[in-house]
C-alpha cells in the first residue's frame, strides 16, 4: 500500500517539470504538450485522493479534466495551424503583436 504522499510528491515534481516546459520552450506545440503534462500531474493527485478517501468524485473529476483537456488540445492545435499559416513559425516570441 503506497502512501498518499508519494503520489502527491510525484505529481508535484511532474507539475513543476511541465511548468518549465511551458515557460522555456519556443515551440507552441511543445508548450501545449507541457500543459497536458501539468494536467496529468493534477489528475494523478485526483486519483490518489479518490483512492485514499474512497470516493468516486476524484475519478469523475479526472474524467472531466480529460474532456476539457481534449477540447483544449483541439482548439490549441487549430489555433497553432492557423497561426502557422499566417507567420511561418511556431515560435511564440514571433507572436508578440498583441500588446499596448
Amino acid at each position: 500500500m503506497v502512501p498518499l504522499n508519494y503520489y502527491l510528491i510525484l505529481s508535484a515534481i511532474v507539475f513543476s517539470i511541465g511548468v518549465v516546459g511551458v515557460l522555456i520552450r519556443r515551440n507552441l506545440i511543445v508548450v501545449l504538450m507541457s500543459i497536458e503534462l501539468m494536467l496529468n500531474a493534477v489528475n494523478l493527485t485526483f486519483i490518489a485522493f479518490a483512492r485514499h478517501l474512497g470516493s468516486m468524485a476524484g475519478q469523475v473529476a479526472v474524467f472531466f479534466v480529460m474532456a476539457v483537456a481534449a477540447a483544449e488540445a483541439v482548439i490549441g492545435l487549430a489555433i497553432i495551424i492557423s497561426v502557422f499559416r499566417q507567420t511561418r513559425t511556431l515560435d511564440p516570441q514571433n507572436m508578440q503583436l498583441l500588446k499596448w
Binding site: 513543476s16 522555456i24 483512492r51 468516486m56 492545435l77 495551424i81 515560435d91
Partner: protein, 170 residues
C-alpha cells in the same frame, strides 16, 4: 518497502525521466513520444490506484486521440527548424520552477493523510460505479462537458478551415 512501493518507485522514476524528456528534448516528435510514454505510465499508476476505468480511458483519450492529433499536426506543419534556446531565459524559468517544486514537495511530504479509509472493494473504480456517480450526482457537469466538446469541435473546424484565397501550409 513492499512490492507495490517498489513498482511505484520504478514507475515514478520512469515518469519523471520521460517528462523531463518531454521538456528538454529538442525534436518535437521525440517530445511527443516521451509524452506518450509518460501518459502510459500515468495510466498504469491509475490502474494501480484502483481506477482501471480511468486508466484505460487515459490511454484511449490521451495516448489514443490527443497525442495522435499532436503527431498529426506535427507532421502536418513539419517544423524543420530547431528552436534556439536563450540561456538566460532558461535559467530564470528553471530556477522559478525548481522554486515551485521546492515549495510544493515539502508541503506534500509533511502532509498527514490521517486515517485512510481504504476501500478495498472490488467494485471501486469499476465502470458501473463510475457510471453511477457520473450519471448520478455529476450529470449536469457531464452534459456541460458534452456541450463543451461540441463547441470545441465546431471551433476547431472554423479555425483550421482554410478560407479560400489564402494559401495554407502543408
Amino acid at each position: 518497502m513492499n512490492a507495490a512501493t517498489v513498482i511505484f518507485l520504478i514507475l515514478a522514476t520512469l515518469l519523471v525521466i520521460s517528462s523531463l524528456m518531454v521538456v528538454f528534448l529538442r525534436r518535437v516528435v521525440h517530445c511527443a513520444m516521451a509524452l506518450v510514454t509518460a501518459l502510459l505510465l500515468i495510466a498504469i499508476l491509475f490502474i494501480s490506484l484502483q481506477a482501471p476505468m480511468v486508466g484505460v480511458l487515459q490511454v484511449m483519450v490521451y495516448a489514443g486521440a490527443i497525442m495522435v492529433l499532436f503527431l498529426f499536426v506535427i507532421m502536418f506543419l513539419n517544423p524543420g527548424v530547431l528552436e534556439q534556446p536563450s540561456v538566460a531565459w532558461w535559467g530564470l524559468a528553471v530556477v522559478l520552477s525548481v522554486l515551485l517544486g521546492a515549495f510544493l514537495v515539502p508541503l506534500f511530504s509533511q502532509y498527514e493523510p490521517g486515517d485512510n479509509p481504504v476501500t478495498s472493494t472490488e467494485l471501486f473504480g469499476s465502470p458501473d460505479v463510475l457510471a453511477k456517480s457520473l450519471f448520478g450526482e455529476f450529470v449536469l457537469p457531464f452534459e456541460i462537458a458534452s456541450v463543451l466538446l461540441l463547441v470545441a469541435i465546431i471551433g476547431a473546424v472554423v479555425l483550421a478551415k482554410r478560407e479560400h484565397g489564402s494559401d495554407g501550409a502543408a
